[in-house]
């Protein structure tokens, strides 16, 4: 097997550690970077370095932040008293795009999954419970993914939160808006049927 010079091999190895990048893609990206303009490549390196240096996690909600608090926690217009619990920072972006939530978030940094070696202690659960009193939280919306791990996490949190007398809700699952029933998969349609609501008339 051909061996690259150590510098190239190191670059390939590092790229190969990124999510979704296999050995073939790592090689392709490495050679792209070697061929690309020096300024462009250094700009990328600089972006990585500066993101890593300036971006940390919000001390309150564990979302990504530049500074001690994220933009959402620092925004005085956000309603205190309601917390939306999500698994990852990218889920915050997803909920924010809806524009229908005006409270604050809490990012767990994952979901309970013994296979991945993640239990409640590896998640920001303690940090969530510690926010309830000082922020006078009335409702916690459990917005974890609708898979078995997300469901397990929601059940676990629900129990912990109920003990502390907070209203706990779980996002509904159902049909995509603007879609046709005909194209919905059976499981989603089944869940939507279970979660049906009375219609005023």
């Amino acid at each position: 097997m051909a061996v690259y010079t150590p510098a190239v091999q190191r670059l390939i190895d590092e790229l190969g550690k990124l999510p979704g990048i296999g050995p073939k893609s790592a090689q392709r990206i490495a050679f792209y970077l070697l061929r690309a303009e020096r300024v462009d490549v250094l700009r990328l390196a600089d972006a990585i370095r500066s993101a890593k240096e300036h971006v940390s996690f919000c001390q309150r909600c564990w979302n990504v932040a530049e500074g001690p608090e994220c933009e959402i926690c620092a925004d005085p217009r956000r309603e205190a008293g309601t917390i939306c619990v999500v698994e990852e920072p990218r889920d915050v972006v997803a909920v924010e795009r809806t524009g229908s939530f005006h409270g604050r978030y809490h990012v767990l940094q994952g979901a309970i999954s013994p296979i991945a070696g993640i239990g409640p202690a590896q998640l920001k659960v303690k940090e969530l419970l510690e926010r309830l009193q000082p922020e006078a939280v009335e409702e916690v919306i459990l917005c974890t993914n609708p898979n078995y791990e997300g469901e397990a996490t929601a059940m676990y949190l629900a129990r912990q939160l109920h003990e502390r007398g907070v209203r706990v809700t779980r996002i509904a699952s159902g049909l995509p808006v603007g879609g046709d029933l005909e194209y919905a998969d059976e499981l989603t349609l089944g869940r939507a049927l279970e979660g049906r609501r009375p219609v005023e008339g």
Binding site: S113, P114, P120, A121, A152
Partner: protein, 387 residues
């Protein structure tokens, strides 16, 4: 539903092959051992299920030295022509076209294109471990209902998570382990109750079909029974709670649908340990026939029936009775020896005459690449498909 014509290229031992089974009745596929009969049945079943009934790894499906295998079939589904084409890529993903349109979800195809397979390995259903019998139930329930397949997959996932959690606990029940175990147990009991209840309903539906199929093949009635035994009594969550200490100690989940048993009795005794080899084979066939009938009732089309060398261990009477009991659908029967008394064959195909096996180098008819008609508008037909 029946297959009018089947083309293989670079499938197992076949470089190219082409055959046209009879639309109704029995098509007999003959040829000596090792001439590629089972490979033909396997290709047709793979086209429907995208899985080998011999549980073979994917890379052996493609002829050695070939980049990919292609299986094409032209079907008649209640008067509607269906051209199903599938490419088996190793490495890589399968590509499937139905009437030149790509199919994304495998389930879409499976429901409209059922296939029942009987093989000599079915003996394991009676003789083998309980997991073999549960697998027959799950396979049948999944081809009737997609939501069962979903619950079944979820059950596997939750059981795996729980098993790893038990291992991580290494015998000690800390507060955190207890709370985490509780959430997996809740999901396990919900999914477990659902899977068990649906398997029980399936067994209840299979029972009369099983008894009558056995009666017809063996010529005796009422001496067999089928029942489902849960590994727990009462509610599953209570049973899980009761076994928690034991589960922690042994680091396994000791109750749940993964420990249930499909009990097959013959003359009042466990067929697994007490029936003779010939009886066991008859019982396995009766169970397959019953499942086949049930799927036909639910899906609305009779599955294509593939019988791989199943007559060889039956006596003449039972072999003839089996063929008699087989539903009126299209049947393709592979056998090394010529048919015996009382078996009415519609077409006989000598497998040595359907194509070219390993060795030759010329390009062939069925081997044209798959052409997606979605964009070009006018589908291009490979020569073999037009003929």
């Amino acid at each position: 539903m029946h297959v009018e014509r089947l083309w293989l290229s670079d499938w197992r031992c076949w470089e190219v092959a082409e055959l046209a089974p009879s639309a109704t009745g029995i098509t007999l596929l003959t040829g000596p051992n090792g001439s590629g009969k089972t490979n033909v049945l396997e290709a047709l079943a793979w086209l429907a299920r995208r899985e080998s009934f011999r549980a073979a790894p994917r890379d052996v499906l493609v002829r050695e030295g070939a980049p990919q295998a292609i299986v094409r079939g032209r079907f008649d589904s209640g008067g509607r022509a269906l051209l199903v084409e599938a490419e088996c890529n190793v490495p890589g993903r399968d590509r499937v076209l139905v009437n030149r349109q790509p199919v994304r979800h495998h389930r879409e195809l499976q429901a409209s294109f059922p296939v029942s397979v009987f093989t000599p390995d079915d003996l394991a259903v009676v003789k083998g471990s309980p997991s073999e019998r549960r697998a027959v139930l799950d396979e049948t329930a999944s081809s009737i209902s997609a939501s069962f397949a979903e619950a079944r997959a979820g059950l596997d996932r939750v059981l795996r998570q729980r098993a790893i959690l038990l291992r991580q606990a290494s015998g000690r029940l800390t507060a955190e382990i207890e709370d985490t175990l509780a959430v997996w147990d809740r999901q396990l009991s919900r999914l477990g109750e659902e899977v068990a209840a649906r398997r029980e309903a399936l067994v209840a539906a299979l029972r009369p079909a099983f008894e009558s199929a056995y009666g017809r093949v063996a010529g005796e009635r009422g001496s067999v029974s089928l029942s489902y035994t849960r590994s727990w009594s009462g509610e599953l969550d209570a049973a899980l709670a009761a076994h928690r200490g034991e589960d922690l100690r042994r680091q396994v989940t000791s109750v749940g649908p993964h420990r249930d048993e499909l009990v097959i009795l013959h003359a009042g005794k466990l067929a697994r340990s007490h029936a003779s080899q010939g009886e066991q084979r008859t019982l396995a066939l009766a169970l397959r026939l019953a499942a086949h009938t049930l799927v036909e009732e639910h899906v609305g089309t009779a599955p294509i029936l593939l019988l791989d060398d199943v007559l060889s261990e039956l006596d003449d009477y039972r072999a003839a009775a089996l063929i008699e009991a087989v539903p009126s659908a299209q049947v393709i029967l592979a056998a090394a020896s010529p048919p015996r008394l009382g078996i009415d064959v519609a077409t006989t195909i000598d497998v040595r005459e359907i194509g070219r096996r390993l060795g030759a180098t010329q390009g062939g008819g069925g081997g044209a690449p798959l052409v997606d008609g979605g964009e070009s508008g006018t589908p291009m037909c490979p020569a073999a498909v037009e003929s």
